[in-house]
């Protein structure tokens, strides 16, 4: 799966599983500040990504996810390795 395919699926997860507004989702959008995802929402995001992509995201790596683009990079990196 190339990065743009990961991005497309991830953005779909954000809309269908987390109920985020598709119009506000950009790679630069910060989950907590721009998308108003609260602390439990971050946990829901991690679980949704693990389910969708079949990857494991430990807490220490999860802390690096601030923006949508960073989430895409993390998942893409895991699928590559």
């Amino acid at each position: 799966m190339d990065r743009s395919a990961v991005a497309e699926r991830l953005e779909e997860v954000l809309v269908t599983e987390l109920g985020l507004d598709a119009d506000k989702i950009t790679e630069e959008a910060n989950f907590e500040e721009d998308l108003e995802v609260d602390s439990l929402g971050v946990v829901e995001l991690l679980m949704a990504l693990e389910d969708e992509f079949g990857v494991q995201i430990p807490d220490e790596e999860a802390e690096n996810i601030g923006t949508v683009g960073q989430a895409i990079d993390l998942v893409y990196g895991k699928l590559e390795s």
Binding site: S39, L40, V43, E44, M47, D59
Partner: protein
């Protein structure tokens, strides 16, 4: 023993739920009430938890447990003297010596039968259901009362806004009786991860260490919310899927999920793992908050009252709690969804408001910065 068949292939006796009852104390504490004393708001609590109000008990756990038990006995058409085992799932009992079950047994008049407390925190009701079921399957008991009852308000620290909004008081009960193997409890799973026990705890709540005076710093509930959330969804969801599979059923066969009511978002995430639409999930957390071991039997009683269960339905119970414990069970409901009789058992009335009832907690723990 998943399908109630013994190794020789002979059909074994199973256990089914023949009575159900609940007891919620009358005093209600709303989110707006809490916002008067805690730095929080109805919007904050509602979006994060789904809770709108919770009940605060003016009497004891055993009083609520006994009222729920009397309704369950009436629904089953039994007298207390018919019982041969009483299990009280609780982590907030009246006393540790003797057990809370002894008080419940005394109140309902089931003198002489076996009675015990069972502490698996929020998983306590399902743990009790499984123990009671297997006592019936083993042939040692035939009329078992399983109660989940809690008075978590006793431990609420209103200086900790992350936990004090979550919990409430209540009790629910079921009666278990023998059944053929096709109905009743089909498959069960109990588990616990002791390495995660500090994620949700009352740091000082027993005899650990040396005797010391009560300390507000260690006598309240503490919780790592995000981590408990993540583990709850995973363990509760996975256990629910496994008990459905162990029952020889598929997720499409599930008619109703009755999950532990800790957080609407945990319930939603669990339902997603089970691929269940929300109309197949029973949710009443808005009215009562997290009443620990009481949530599932209270929800079951309300599901029946609201005609959400019909004969032959496949119901899944799933819970997680401090420990971290988890539990799940599939039940094929029998042919009766109406009570044999009704009881007028009720708690003594009170004029005290929820705000008055929590004042001793405020006096002990203090209040946080606002």
């Amino acid at each position: 023993m998943d399908n109630a068949v013994d190794p020789d292939g002979a059909e074994m006796q199973n256990a089914k739920i023949t009575g159900w009852g609940k007891c919620l104390p009358p005093a209600s504490l709303s989110n707006d009430d809490l916002a008067q004393i805690v730095d929080t708001s109805d919007e904050w609590i509602t979006t994060r938890t789904g809770i709108k109000e919770r009940r605060i008990c003016h009497v004891d756990v055993s009083d609520m447990a006994a009222v729920a038990a009397q309704h369950a006995l009436a629904a089953a058409g039994l007298e207390a003297t018919d019982l041969d085992l009483v299990i009280v799932g609780t982590c907030t009992g009246d006393s540790t010596i003797p057990s809370t079950a002894s008080k419940v047994q005394e109140i309902i008049g089931a003198t002489g039968c076996a009675a015990m407390d069972l502490n698996a925190a929020c998983s306590g009701f399902i743990y009790g259901l499984v123990v009671g079921t297997n006592m019936i399957r083993a042939g040692t008991n035939s009329r078992v009362l399983v109660i989940g009852a809690e008075k978590l308000s006793y431990h609420l620290n209103f200086a900790d806004r992350s936990t004090c909004v979550l919990f409430g008081d209540g009790a629910g009960a079921v009666v278990l009786e023998p059944a053929d193997s096709e109905t009743g409890v089909l498959a069960t799973e109990l588990g616990l991860d002791g390495t995660a026990r500090s994620l949700l705890e009352i740091p000082v709540s027993g005899t650990q260490g040396e005797r010391r005076p009560p300390d507000p710093e260690t006598a309240g509930i503490t919780m790592n919310g995000p981590e408990v959330f993540r583990r709850a969804v995973t363990t509760m969801g996975d256990a629910a899927v496994r008990v459905v599979e162990k029952s020889g059923l598929t997720l499409d066969d599930v008619d109703l999920l009755i999950p532990h009511q800790a957080n609407t978002r945990i319930i939603d995430a669990t339902a997603r793992r089970l691929r269940l639409d929300r109309d197949k999930v029973f949710i009443n957390i808005g009215s009562y908050g997290n009443t620990s071991a009481a949530t599932i039997p209270v929800a079951l009683a309300e599901a029946i009252e609201q005609d959400r269960i019909t004969p032959g339905d496949v119901i899944v119970f799933a819970a997680f709690g401090a420990g971290l414990s988890w539990a799940a069970a599939t039940v094929r409901w029998g042919d009766r969804v109406t009570p044999v009789a009704t009881s007028d058992a009720a708690l003594p009335p009170t004029d005290r408001t929820a705000m008055e009832l929590i004042q001793p907690n405020i006096d002990f723990f203090g209040l946080g910065a606002r």
